[in-house]
Point group: C2
Chain length 179, copies 2
């Protein structure tokens, strides 16, 4: 069982749901560290149903929406997955890939690249921070905020990295290109 399936089973512990609902929940609640598309949800639910880990009810025919529920074997499979050693984490950072070839970038291009990415990280940090404040305001237990705290640390670390960039060709300090 893959982690996406595990996540779906986990979400189903709260009660039956349709594929669409699960996709939305996943996007909202775990989307920041585990992206799942709607199509994947359909596929994985079908697979899970084939293994008897979820049961399906509802009309298939016309616009009938199917509702899925966790079965007892599904519950056990979920707990097994949860306790299993997690696969290694997966990072892909296009910015760093570009910087690998930094000498092939024009100073202006490099500058734009860095600026846009910094802005993106900055925005995400604020968003996370607001979200955290919101949860704290309603006295959510700290153990539910761990992923959010992780994200905040990450974004802060990246912003620190930006702040400490060495002098690069085209940077504001060095030769800014007023021809």
């Amino acid at each position: 069982m893959n982690s996406t399936q595990g996540a779906l089973l986990g979400l189903l512990r709260r009660g039956p749901a349709t594929a669409h609902q699960l996709a939305r929940q996943a996007a909202q609640e775990i989307g920041n560290y585990w992206s799942v598309t709607r199509s994947q949800v359909y596929r994985e639910l079908t697979a899970l149903a084939g293994q008897g880990l979820v049961s399906t009810s509802g009309a298939t025919g016309s616009g009938g929406r199917r509702e899925y529920a966790l079965t007892e074997p599904g519950r056990q499979a979920f707990l097994g997955w949860l306790a299993a050693e997690p696969e290694p984490e997966h990072l892909r950072v296009p910015l760093l890939l570009r910087l690998t070839f930094i000498d092939d970038l024009e100073p202006g291009q490099l500058q734009r690249l860095l600026d846009s990415q910094r802005a993106a990280h900055s925005a995400r940090l604020e968003e996370y921070q607001a979200s955290l404040d919101g949860w704290r305001a309603q006295a959510a237990p700290e153990r539910y905020l761990l992923p959010l705290a992780y994200g905040i640390r990450y974004e802060q670390a990246v912003l620190d990295w930006f702040a400490e960039l060495p002098d690069l060709p085209g940077s504001a300090k060095g030769s800014d290109d007023r021809t």
Copy 2:
């Protein structure tokens, strides 16, 4: 053109190479933030050759290895890709996915999970740090060390997150489970 293709073109700027060599280089030099498997390299090189962005030489028949070289259109495509807006970065953190369901974890399981992941991050940080020191010792320009510095910040941030974990069921401070 996707980023893996871009990366391959970038590597080919240093001179012709075989698929195998490119795969090894990629694993070593960009593997930490852009994973590429050997099979992918074959596929993407075939695609690039089909577009005329790389040229191929060498026997196809018996154990003949093919060598690929960057063409002039390939060089231009590479520069175009390099300056294009990078796609959003992609993170997948199985640990956080597990923690989403923290209430379903036994205290002992939670503890093991956290310990193993912390150890993994700690090891990676040391590895990166050693690598950075190595490069600094041979006076590598700082601009070539940016990805490494990024990785170090990331690992440090994660370790900080571990260090600041709230009291969790089963943690050493709280009720350690001597039945």
